[in-house]
Symmetry: C2
Amino acid sequence: MTDYTLYYWPIAFRGQFVRSVLAHVGATWDETDFNAIRALKSKSPAEQPVPHMGPPVLTDHAAALSFSQMPAILHYLGKKHGLMEDDPASEAMTVKIVADANDVLYEITLYNGAQMWTGESWRDFVPRLERWMAMFEETGRRHGMTAEAGYLLGTDKPGIADLATCSLWGTMTEKLPSLRPLLEKAAPAIAGLCDRIAALPEQAELRARSDAEYGELYCAGQIEASLRKVLSA
Amino acid sequence: MTDYTLYYWPIAFRGQFVRSVLAHVGATWDETDFNAIRALKSKSPAEQPVPHMGPPVLTDHAAALSFSQMPAILHYLGKKHGLMEDDPASEAMTVKIVADANDVLYEITLYNGAQMWTGESWRDFVPRLERWMAMFEETGRRHGMTAEAGYLLGTDKPGIADLATCSLWGTMTEKLPSLRPLLEKAAPAIAGLCDRIAALPEQAELRARSDAEYGELYCAGQIEASLRKVLSA
């Protein structure tokens, strides 16, 4: 039996945050296909393993528990596998960083594709994207992180905050490489952190597998098409 | 010296989630005016007490710590003041419920006013709003909560999940009373929970004070105007 089942679309985006942590702790998991996720999402809350509006959903088979909401799934895995400091302040900072990451995912997809990017709206957004990057950079800086070494919250090993940061900025700049110079300029230490996390054997193996399965897809759909269009302009 | 300073606009909305918890634990806090919040939000991340994109921000004066992101602020207060069960599963469920609440706030304001409601878009949204309500109801039902008694996660006293649920659905249906019948139909036990929480002396006192200060304002701005317009149609 595998340890977990992850329900998420066959793309990186929010799902990669969960996969990255599962890979880091050496857990085994399976995933389902597009139709199974759509069917699960369409059930009434009473019929769902956990009442949810959309994926990701993670089931822990041994514990017979399911969670939705990427931040909650990361929290569960982080607590269970010792990837968060246990004091209220550090834990809340991890929650804050994951919430920031989730907001960036909303914003770069114009809220899951509620609108499409235009040249003008993208130009207006770039300074805000740089500010998000600078916020992560400043958080790392306050905890002594440099481009060469250290983790985001000053711990001595990568935790949820680091893995989520790499899932956000690392994945974004891998899939949309024209954004990498922006990250290097606005957040050089975060760019370094992303590289160090990505080089961990479990993460390198995950990335190779994900690239083989999902190709260059980032968030998918019309919103990805509109994003690639403004980026290539 | 007061225990905390809360930076949030003079409206209920996301800020009420924080005020509700502060009132529940008997903390003292002060708030700043509109201009101070705007000035803080506009500073570079390096100059901010915690790097953030917008309020709420909470400063704990004794600990000399600041947090942004409503879910992170609630997490900090919840851990510090013993308002969350300490096992990974219960804690992650609290994170999930707060993340769901935050998503509902995004959706009912069309992502902080990125678009405006029309009669048509609101009609399309109502079944989704009912589904959000039903998700909360089902969560309570699984933990034995009824319209008459119990808390959302089956604990014996109100925790962060209960306070956040009341801040979401209670505040929304107080400020936009035409939505109360929807809540009573889709989530009768949640409507009961909101009433029980609202009747706690600290919450009743907070509500009286908030009503005196903010009046009937919910999320404010053009988006509130468009929301009230579709609701009165």
